[in-house]
Symmetry: C2
Subunit: 556 residues, 2 copies
C-alpha cells in the first residue's frame, strides 16, 4: 500500500493562484507563500456574502485507538460535495509540529482524502504556530523581565505567575522546570514549564478573534497572576498587547491550500482540543462562508468535547450556526466500544458493533439537544463486513438519522458522493435554529453541571478543594460570566478514560479551574490533562529524511 506522502506525489498540484481564482479572489489580494500556499487578507471576509451559505460540522463518536478518521472524512466529504455540484471549501485546523516527530505522523487526512502540499502543512506551513509561539514567549519574557527589574516593576509575586512558555515540540523534559538560576543577572528563580504551542492561550485567542482590535483587546485581558499585595495582573499592565499582536500580523490571516482533487481548503489555527475550543479560527470559517456555498469544518475529539465547545463557545461568540452535523463512526471503533481489544479489531464481530452503538446513540442524542441536524458517516475500512455495516445502519434508522458509508481513504471524493447527497439534503432542509446548551450568564457551577449531566451523562459533579478555591477566585475577578471550556479525556464520555461505550451513574470531578480571560473562557479541568506530550521510545523523527534534491520522506 502506498503511503500518504507517496499518494500526494502522484498528483500534479494546481498553482494556488488558480485555486484562488476559482474562489473569485483577485490576484493582488492573494499573498502567496511559495506556489501552493497563500494567505488571505481579512478584508476578503464579507458578512453579506455569508448569508444562506451552508456550514457542515464534522465530529465523531468517542475516539478510540482504532481510529475514526474525522479529518479524512471532512476532506473526502468536501470532495464529494464538489463532485455533486455544491461549491465547497473544507476549513480545517493546522497540524501541530511536535507530534509529527513522535508517533502520529501528519494530520492532513489520509489515503485519497488529503490536503496538500502535505509536507509543508505538517511542518512549518506559513509560520502561524511559530508566530503564536513567539507572541506567547514574548509575554513570558516581559513577565520575568518585570520581576527582575526594580524600576517600573508591577510587584508581581513570582509564585503566582501561571503564564507558561510554549514550544511546538514533544519535549517532556520541559514540562516542569526551574528558570532564573545562575545569579542576580539571570532572573529570579521560580518554578514553571513549557506547554506545546497548540495549548497556548494565544492560539485560542487567535482562533476566536474577529479582527486586529479584538485580537489586541483579548491579549490585553490575559490574566497572568497576582502582585505581592494580591492584585490581579493582566497582559495589558505590561503593555504587551501591541507587540504581541504585531507578531501575529500574518498569523491571523487564514491560509489557502488545496485538496488532492484540486478543491479549495482553508487551514488556519490549531488550538489544543482539550483545553481550548479545538477548532480552526473563526476568521477561517467566515472566510470559507464568504467564498463558497458550502463549508465543511471539523471539531476535535468526540462530539462531547470539540463539538460542544464549537457550538457553545465558537458559534455563540462568532454568530455562526451549522446547517448539519456529521458524526463519524467506524466499525472498528464501535467494536472497541463494544469491548473488543485492539489486537482483535480486524475480526468480524457484528455483535460487538451492536454493543458499541450505545456510544453513537448518546452522541446523536447530544446533537439533538443543540437542535442541530445529524448525519452519520461510516468511514469504511477494508476489513469491514456487510453485517457490521448493516448493524450501524439499522441503529441509525431506529434513531431516525440518515447514514452513509464513505470510502474516502480508498477512493477520494468518489467514495463520498452518497454521503455528500445526504448531507446536502439535510443541510438544505434543516430549518432548526441552534440552541446552545447554556447561557453564558449562568453561574459557573450551573454551566458545568449542565454540560456534565446533559452531554456526558454524569450523575453528579464533585469539586476538589482546589477547584472550590479557583471558583472563588473567578467570582472575585468577575470572570464568572465567561463560557466554560471543560478539559476532559476524549476517550470516554465520562472523565474516566477506561469507561467506554455509554457510561452511566458516574461522578465528574473538577480538579481545578483555569482562567483563559483573553480567550474568553474558563477551563474546568477533570482528570489529568497533558499539555506537553513526550516522544515515544522510537520517535518517528528517526525515519524522516530529505533527499539531495529536497524531497522529504518518512512523513505519514
Amino acid at each position: 500500500m502506498k503511503s500518504d506522502i507517496e499518494i500526494t506525489r502522484e498528483v500534479t498540484l494546481k498553482p494556488v493562484s488558480e485555486i484562488a481564482e476559482r474562489l473569485g479572489i483577485s490576484k493582488d489580494l492573494l499573498e502567496p507563500y511559495g506556489h501552493y500556499k497563500a494567505k488571505l487578507p481579512l478584508s476578503i471576509i464579507d458578512k453579506g456574502k455569508m448569508k444562506g451559505k451552508k456550514l457542515i460540522l464534522v465530529s465523531a463518536i468517542s475516539p478510540t485507538p482504532a481510529g475514526e478518521g474525522k479529518t479524512t472524512i471532512s476532506i473526502g466529504l468536501s470532495e464529494g460535495l464538489n463532485r455533486i455540484g455544491k461549491q465547497t471549501t473544507v476549513v480545517l485546523r493546522e497540524p501541530s509540529l511536535g507530534p509529527v516527530f513522535g508517533i502520529k505522523g501528519g494530520a492532513t487526512g489520509g489515503g485519497h482524502a488529503q490536503v496538500v502540499p502535505m509536507e509543508d502543512i505538517n511542518l512549518h506551513f506559513t509560520g502561524d504556530f511559530a508566530a503564536i509561539e513567539k507572541a506567547n514567549n514574548l509575554l513570558a519574557a516581559l513577565i520575568d523581565n518585570n520581576i527582575q527589574n526594580k524600576n517600573g516593576s508591577l510587584g508581581i509575586d513570582p509564585r503566582t505567575v501561571h503564564w507558561k512558555r510554549v514550544m511546538d515540540m514533544n519535549d517532556r523534559a520541559l514540562r516542569h522546570i526551574i528558570v532564573g538560576l545562575g545569579g542576580t543577572a539571570s532572573g529570579v528563580p521560580r518554578e514553571t514549564g513549557f506547554d506545546i504551542t497548540a495549548a497556548s492561550e494565544i492560539m485560542a485567542i487567535l482562533c476566536l478573534a474577529e479582527n486586529f482590535e479584538d485580537l489586541k483587546e483579548r491579549i490585553g485581558r490575559i490574566f497572568i497572576g497576582f502582585t505581592l499585595d494580591k492584585k490581579p495582573v493582566y497582559a495589558r499592565d505590561l503593555n504587551a498587547q501591541g507587540a504581541m499582536a504585531a507578531l501575529l500580523k500574518d498569523a491571523i490571516k487564514p491560509n489557502l491550500v488545496q485538496t488532492l482533487e484540486g478543491n479549495p481548503a482553508i487551514i488556519h489555527g490549531g488550538p489544543f482540543a482539550n483545553i481550548a475550543q479545538g477548532t480552526n479560527s473563526v476568521l477561517a470559517t467566515k472566510m470559507g462562508l464568504t467564498l463558497s456555498d458550502y463549508v465543511v469544518t471539523e471539531a476535535g475529539f468526540g462530539f462531547d468535547l470539540g463539538a460542544e465547545k464549537f457550538l457553545d463557545i465558537k458559534c455563540v461568540s462568532a454568530g455562526l450556526q451549522p446547517d448539519a452535523a456529521v458524526l463519524v463512526a467506524t466499525v472498528r471503533a464501535l467494536k472497541y466500544h463494544g469491548g473488543v481489544s485492539l489486537s482483535e479489531i480486524n475480526h468480524p464481530d457484528a455483535a460487538a458493533v451492536e454493543r458499541g452503538l450505545e456510544n453513537l446513540e448518546k452522541h446523536v442524542e447530544n446533537m439533538r439537544k443543540f437542535n442541530v441536524c445529524p448525519v452519520v458517516a461510516i468511514n469504511h475500512f477494508a476489513d469491514d463486513t456487510d453485517a457490521e455495516i448493516n448493524a450501524i445502519q439499522l441503529k441509525c434508522k431506529e434513531l431516525g438519522v440518515k447514514a452513509a458509508v464513505a470510502k474516502v481513504h480508498a477512493m477520494g471524493g468518489k467514495g463520498a458522493e452518497e454521503l455528500a447527497k445526504i448531507v446536502s439534503e439535510v443541510a438544505e432542509t434543516c430549518s432548526s435554529e441552534l440552541k446552545p446548551l447554556y447561557e453564558w450568564e449562568w453561574p459557573v457551577e450551573k454551566k458545568i453541571e449542565t454540560i456534565a449531566t446533559k452531554i456526558y451523562g454524569a450523575a453528579a459533579i464533585d469539586y476538589t478543594a482546589q477547584a472550590k478555591a479557583d471558583l472563588k477566585k473567578i467570582y472575585d475577578l468577575k470572570l464568572d460570566k465567561l463560557p466554560v471550556c471543560i478539559a476532559k479525556t476524549q476517550k470516554s464520555l465520562s472523565d474516566n478514560p477506561k469507561l467506554l461505550g455509554r457510561p452511566e451513574n458516574f461522578v465528574v470531578t473538577v480538579r481545578e479551574i483555569e482562567i483563559a480571560a483573553g480567550a474568553g473562557f474558563i477551563v474546568p479541568i477533570t482528570g489529568n490533562i497533558m499539555r506537553m506530550p513526550g516522544l515515544p521510545e522510537k520517535p518517528a523523527a528517526e525515519d524522516i529524511d530529505i533527499s539531495s534534491d529536497g524531497i522529504i520522506s518518512g512523513l505519514f
Copy 2:
C-alpha cells in the same frame, strides 16, 4: 526627523517578481512569500556565472556605543554602485527577533539606506529562524528522550550534554534552568539552558552548508556529549540529521527582497557574530555572485571578529575571496576610541578623532595581512565637522588607503556615489589573492596564537585549566584540524572590553574551548560571552503596536 519605518512607508515597493525579473530569474523559479519577499531555489546557483564577479566585504573599526552603521553603509554602497552602473546585489544576514523587543529595534539599515519591507524582515521574515529553532530543539528533545527511555538508549551521561535549546527572544530567565523535574514520567532532571537562536550551531551549519547533502552531513557530525563509559555521542547516533534537515528544507533557500531604491537584496542566515562566523550564508553569497556583477556583503562586529572569520573560515570553506574590503568608521566612534565619553560625543573634537585613529590604523594593517584591498568608508553624521573628517582622510592618505565620505542615512545611494566609484576602482584593479592567516592543518594552539598576536595585537596567550582540558578533548576527538572561531568581546581589539583604541602588551586568556563539529570549527572563548541577552528595564516591546488595519508602528 522621520523614523526608519516612516521613511519606508513613503516608498512604493516593487513586486518581488519585478526584482527577480531584473536578476533574470524566471517566474516559475521564484517562490514568493507575500508580494515583497521570495525564496530562491538553490538550483539557481551557478559556479560558471560566478566567475569574474566582484565580492565586496564591508567591515568596521572596533564597535562603540556611538555607532558605526555597517549595515546602513552596505545597503547605501550597493545603491551607489547601482547608480554608477554596476549591477549590484547587497547580501546581508537576517536580523534576530529577540533584540527587536529589547533596546535595539530593527537591523535592516537606517534612514534612506534600508532594506524593505523592514517590519517583515525584522519580525518573522520567511520563517528561517523559526525553522532553525525547531531543528535545534528537536535534537534537544531527542537527546532527553533518549536519556528517558531505556530501550534503544545510547547511555548518554546527562551531566555531559552540552547541547542547549534555543529561542529567538531576549529572555534572561532561560539562561540557566533545570529541566526534567516532576517525576519519572517527565524526564531526567539536569542543568541546561537556552541560547538565543542566532547562537545555535544549526544556524552556523546552515550558513556554511553548500547543499542538502552537506547540511545533513554537518548536522550528523554535531557533538552532543559523552556516554556513561565516556564515548563521544554525535547527532547521527540519534538518527536526527534527516528530520532536522527536513525542518530546514525552506530555511536553506536564500531570501530575495529589495532596497529602498528598488535594487535587489538577498538576506539569509544570521549566525551570532561572536561565537560563529557572523555573516550571511555561503549559499546567499553564491546566489548573489551568480545573479549580479557586484555583491556587497557584511561581516559582523569589527574587522578582527567578523571579517577574520569571514576570510579564514567562510572564504576558505566555500572557495570565495573578496575583491575589496570596506572598513566603516565614524567621527563619533573614533572620538570614543580617542577617549571622549558618550555624552560628549556630539562636541567637535578633531584631536580626539586623531587619537582614536590608531584603532582604524590597526584594522587597516590587519586587512593587508590577508592581502585584501582596503577602502575606508566614513559614515557621515550631521554633527561631523570638516576638521574631524579631514583628520580621518589625512590618516588614510598616510596609510595609502582610499577613503570616501558616505551620506547614505540622509541621502541613500546618492550619498554613496563617491564611495561606490572608489570601491569599484579598487575591486577592478586589485589583483592580489586572499592569503588566509593560518592553515587549518596547524595545531590548535598555533592557530589561536596566530590570530591573537597578528590580528588582536596580543603579546601572549594564556589558557585556563578548563581550556587545557578542552584542548586535550579536542585532540582526543581528532577535531584539531578544524579552523578556530574565537569568541571575544567586540568592543576592543583585546579580550578586555575596556581597552579602546589600539591596546598593546596584553595577554589573551582562553577560558574554555567549545566544539562546533557540525559547523566545522572550534570556539576558543575569551572573556564572558553572553549567548542569551536580556530585556532592558523599559523594553522596546512596550511601544510596538499594530493598527486596526494591520499597520505596525514602534519599530526603529
